[in-house]
Amino acid sequence: MTQVQVLRCESCGALDPGPREVCPRCFRRSLAPVAVPGTGRLLSWTMVRRAPTRFRGEAPYAVASVELDAGVRVTGRLENAEDETAPGARVEASGSGSGYAIFRSVE
């Protein structure tokens, strides 16, 4: 299964989607990259049809907010969004783009 790269504080164990320099919980500068399982729950999604210059060639694309089962929230892409795809749907990571994870609905 595809994993998702996030940050974990080596002092207190807090997870954060990053990038971030200071742990939001213990304020130590001990965040380090960690891969967590890519399974989670869809919080919401949208289909971006008018993209900023940088992403123009990719539109339309679906952006999603996902609560990973590992206990951290990430913003990524959703590759098989359908009109009826609703918040709460189970998703799993299927790949990654430049600085984001790609998910697919598995329901």
Binding site: D16, P17, G18, P19, L43, S44, W45, T46, M47, V48, R49, R50, A51, P52, T53, R54, F55, R56, E58, Y61, V63, S65, V72, R73, V74, T75, G76, R77, D83, A86, P87, G88, G97, S98, G99, Y100
Partner: protein, 388 residues
């Protein structure tokens, strides 16, 4: 010890397309109108704060506060440009209020200005995306319409909010805009026209989004015990609050609520002892139709989950329980980003003076709400008619 502050002068250009007009020219026009309206000696102005967001990327022009003060013939006083994305204007106002309330000066000029319509859609979207955390959410290709498309989906799932209810917000604000001579896009819309407009970020369609606009607005603030030094009709500033929320989606406990708005409204009510029932009108940050619904709930003006229903029942229209965006709001009046927060205050002052073209009957207390970025910056102000 803070001393009371009043708004004594207001000025604004229309919001919309000002082809060939520079941002300095629009800001100078609004500023000169506000100074004329205030009727005070220019020498009394002890500070200038100008709200602007994207003049750098779109115009290649910064240091606008000093440039415009020079155009206006103001004395050698501190001139500060303020940036807080879509809340830039509201933050500029709060700093001017603070300067007077703390006794740094007796009067101050607030300006808000933006020009956007000369740029392409993709350039504007890219410039607006400067307000996102581009190391995190921005990297995914999220846009601001996208953020609110996500909020809509959660609101619909949780509260059963329907397309028709959200369209009621669009129809109300567009109709209010028809009555506001400064508004860019007043219209008498039917539901079919809204649902047939192009999809932007599902489920947001074109009419759910505020237009791209040029415009400027200005206010003259003065210590309340000095209002006799001017000729303008003063309005009292009861509270001016600024808050911060998470810059990232991942930091929002709820995707259809903004902590910065909730905390700003709570503080404004605590500071004044007022409550939602005391508010006659609110100019709030309806950058999108769903944003008005979320904001009205976050501000505590409408019960949680009822924002869309209230709009559909006419309870947020002029003459309803509380008038929400009688100016037409960002949806119809327009959203020249840095000018918006100042423009909201301009509209609220006209209402409290009893001279608005879309007057809320007997308006005594008004609220304004300006939200920036992914809810990272927020200002909430409460204003009162002095005789109320």
């Amino acid at each position: 010890m803070m001393r009371p502050v009043s708004i004594i002068g207001i000025g604004s250009t229309s919001f919309g397309k000002h082809a060939g007009r520079s941002i300095e020219s629009l800001a100078t026009q609004a500023g000169a109108d506000a100074l004329d309206d205030a009727g005070i000696d220019r020498g009394m102005i002890g500070a200038v704060y100008l709200g602007n967001f994207i003049s750098g990327p779109l115009n290649g022009q910064e240091v606008l506060a000093g440039l415009v003060a020079d155009q206006l013939g103001l004395p050698n006083v501190p001139c500060t440009k303020v940036e807080g994305a879509c809340a830039s204007g509201g933050i500029a106002f709060r700093h001017a209020w603070l300067a007077i309330a703390t006794g740094q000066c007796d009067a101050a000029l607030v300006l808000g200005a933006e020009t956007m319509t000369h740029a392409s859609g993709a350039e504007v979207t890219a410039a607006l995306n400067c307000a996102m955390d581009n190391r995190s959410d921005g990297a995914s290709g999220l846009t601001f319409p996208g953020l609110f498309g996500m909020a809509w989906r959660v609101h619909a799932e949780r509260y059963g909010t329907t397309r028709a209810q959200v369209s009621a917000v669009v129809r109300k604000n567009k109709a209010n805009g028809l009555r506001n001579p400064l508004a860019q896009m007043g219209a008498d819309l039917c539901d079919d026209e809204i649902v047939q407009s192009p999809m932007i970020c599902d489920p947001l369609r074109l009419f759910d989004c505020c237009p791209v606009s040029d415009g400027a607005a200005a206010l003259v603030l003065i210590a309340s015990d000095r209002t006799r030094d001017g000729a303008g009709m003063p309005v009292d500033v009861l509270a001016s609050i600024q808050t911060r929320g998470s810059a990232r989606l991942a930091g929002h406990p709820d995707l259809c609520s903004f902590d910065a708005t909730v905390s700003a409204a709570r503080r404004a009510f605590e500071m004044t002892g007022l409550g939602a029932r005391d508010i006659d009108l609110v100019e709030l940050h309806d950058c999108f139709s769903i944003a008005e619904i979320v904001d009205s709930e976050d501000l505590g003006l409408v019960p949680r989950g009822a924002g869309a229903g209230w709009a559909a029942e006419g309870r947020t229209a002029v003459g309803g329980d509380i008038a929400v965006n009688p100016s037409g709001g960002l949806l119809a009046k327009g959203h020249p980003v840095g000018a918006t927060g100042v423009g909201q205050l301009y509209e609220a002052v006209l209402q409290l003076r009893g001279r608005h073209a879309n007057q809320v009957p007997n308006a005594a207390i008004a609220m304004t709400h300006n939200l920036g970025g992914t809810g990272v910056a927020c200002t909430v102000n409460l204003l009162k008619r002095p005789d109320a």
